[in-house]
Symmetry: C2
Subunit: 348 residues, 2 copies
């Protein structure tokens, strides 16, 4: 393993940033969560004046053998097609990245089908043509689980070298909300029926098949919440392991992480079991309509910034949250203080 | 009165925009409220491809005689000081406007004290040095109420001439959450204790004084929800009347309105009583921590985009929401369709 220790947030920077917030020309606390975010980023970056100009959205794509069980509304061929759409700039995440001023990196962690069209710019971290069907055995070997996490850590190191300050891990993979639900059930101890949702829009029968597949997969592989590598191996996905590693690696380099939806958050459950301090580096970007997502966020002790009924993945909710985070930092650094603006503070 | 009829939203544009949303490379509905916003804007602008490049934040400032009753945590001198801060670019709204790419207009609707420093760029619509204390009589005359609304309509006309596509009315005025609470109590029929909050951060005793002042003001002036001009005259503010007029004027020119916090939303209650169709042009930007704000939004039938525990005013919540609205429009116009990207649609 290529593990680097994750430092604690910087207490002095948090104190200095809090003092600055209280000196700005507004009633104390009146910017609500924007103040919290700016102060958290100060602690992450170990400076009273954080900066998030260098934003990256990293979309990890892979396929899932469990799609054989009829758990998704879309056919598996959509995974490589959407990777081509990302590379061509036509997907939601491309538009959102441009809107918020973020770079996009697309990573093949194990897409099954041929990617149609040119693949220039695609980062190859493929571990094979999709995972195995976890209803009949583990989704991947323990070695593959380790490799998936490790490759995420390595890419975080590359991004740190490039100066990244804020990373939003996104994903694409038909069937991966089934894997996310299985991981969430195991890691939170909640019943499968409470954490499995409709994903991209499956009907009642499909949802029953999904719940059944997860239940059988967990029974077959017997994963334990104490062993996150084992959970990843049993019911996970290559992109989910990659994202967990990306989060651990980002935190070890003092890079803030914006959580996207259910799949990225299931990876956060694994990462936080490996190194609990990683959650201090996380900002929950949004809460999706997937019922398990709120449960996973609650388990992590994180409150989402946005709730816009989204359920797309790709990093889309996190990308949108980046605009709120950027605003929080701009306010923190750009507003005048009471003294600078000669404005009277409150009577008391 | 300078009233122009407000048109209904364009049904053909809504239909065309809905069809476009359903053709984009994402599961239908997976962008949640972003899809709703794009479609609403299509109806407002009467085009399948709306545009919100020309954003304006209009901050209306005025003082309130009811501050004599000790209803605010800040002294009244802060109103002109903050106007100077707006003009100098050091306030939260200046930073947010720059972040979201919006123009800022500052309007003096009736500031009591001298504005310290240069006032270049300040739009003068002053109706006097603050309203009267509404615990002893009406805040303003009926003629002044009419003039306040009319001046807002006129400024909306000016903004329409300048090409504005999205307007966020903001405000500054020590004491104005007391006026907003009084208006909300009258317009929604709710008890004063449920709609009065801590504003910029008043303590328990101050909150008691605030509730008492509103109760006495309503008892003294006997405003009726059927007569919005009468309500504005009885317990309103010059900036609140201006904002109500700005909203009515914007809608008559097919300009979308982003609602900010409690004070702006109290103006929306008056505007919607004058012309109910105006609410079709409104996007609720956020919900503040003021308890009456949620009540007012519910009365209007509007669901806020953001809930970030903000309570600053100035248009700050609406400005932040502009980034979500811009993202919604960019997605609507910039994403590839299934056909363009050769992506398979769902199985069914």
């Amino acid at each position: 393993m290529n593990s680097v220790a994750i430092p604690a947030l910087d207490a002095a920077a948090i104190e200095a940033a809090t003092a600055r917030q209280d000196s700005l020309t507004k009633p104390q606390g009146s910017l609500g969560r924007l103040e919290e975010v700016a102060i958290q980023l100060a602690g992450i970056q170990a400076t009273a004046r954080p900066n998030v100009d260098a934003k990256w959205i990293v979309v990890a794509a892979a396929d899932h053998g469990v799609t054989a069980q009829g758990v998704s509304a879309f056919p598996a061929e959509v995974t490589p097609q959407m990777v081509a759409n990302f590379l061509g700039g036509g997907a939601a995440i491309n538009v959102l990245a441009k809107t918020v001023g973020a770079e996009v990196m697309i990573v093949d962690c194990g897409v099954a089908g041929e990617i149609p069209g040119p693949t220039a710019g695609l980062v190859n971290r493929s571990q094979g043509r999709g995972t195995a069907d976890f209803t009949t055995g583990p989704a991947m070997s323990l070695e593959q689980a380790d490799e998936a996490i490790d490759s995420g850590r390595q890419v975080a190191g590359d991004l740190a070298t490039m100066g990244a300050q804020l990373i939003a891990p996104g994903e694409m993979g038909i069937g991966n909300s089934t894997s996310a639900a299985a991981i969430t059930a195991v890691m939170t101890g909640r019943d499968v029926t409470t954490v499995a949702g409709r994903g991209t829009g499956i009907d009642d029968e499909g949802l029953s098949r999904k719940i059944d597949a997860i239940t059988r997969g967990v029974a077959k592989n017997q994963p334990s919440a104490d062993d996150p590598w084992g959970v990843l191996s049993a019911v996970g996905g290559f992109e989910i392991g990659f994202i967990a590693g990306l989060m651990l690696g980002a935190a070890s380099h003092r890079i803030a992480i914006v959580l996207d939806g259910y799949i990225a958050t299931s990876a956060a459950l694994l990462a936080s079991q490996i190194e609990p301090i990683v959650t201090a580096y996380m900002i929950a970007g949004h809460r999706s309509v997937e019922p398990g997502h709120g449960i996973a966020l609650e388990h992590l002790g994180l409150r989402p910034l946005l709730e816009l009924d989204m359920r797309l993945g790709e990093g889309s909710g996190a990308a949108l949250a980046m605009s709120v985070i950027a605003a929080a930092v701009n306010l923190h650094n750009g507003m005048a203080t009471f003294a600078e603006a000669s404005v009277s503070d409150r009577d008391s």
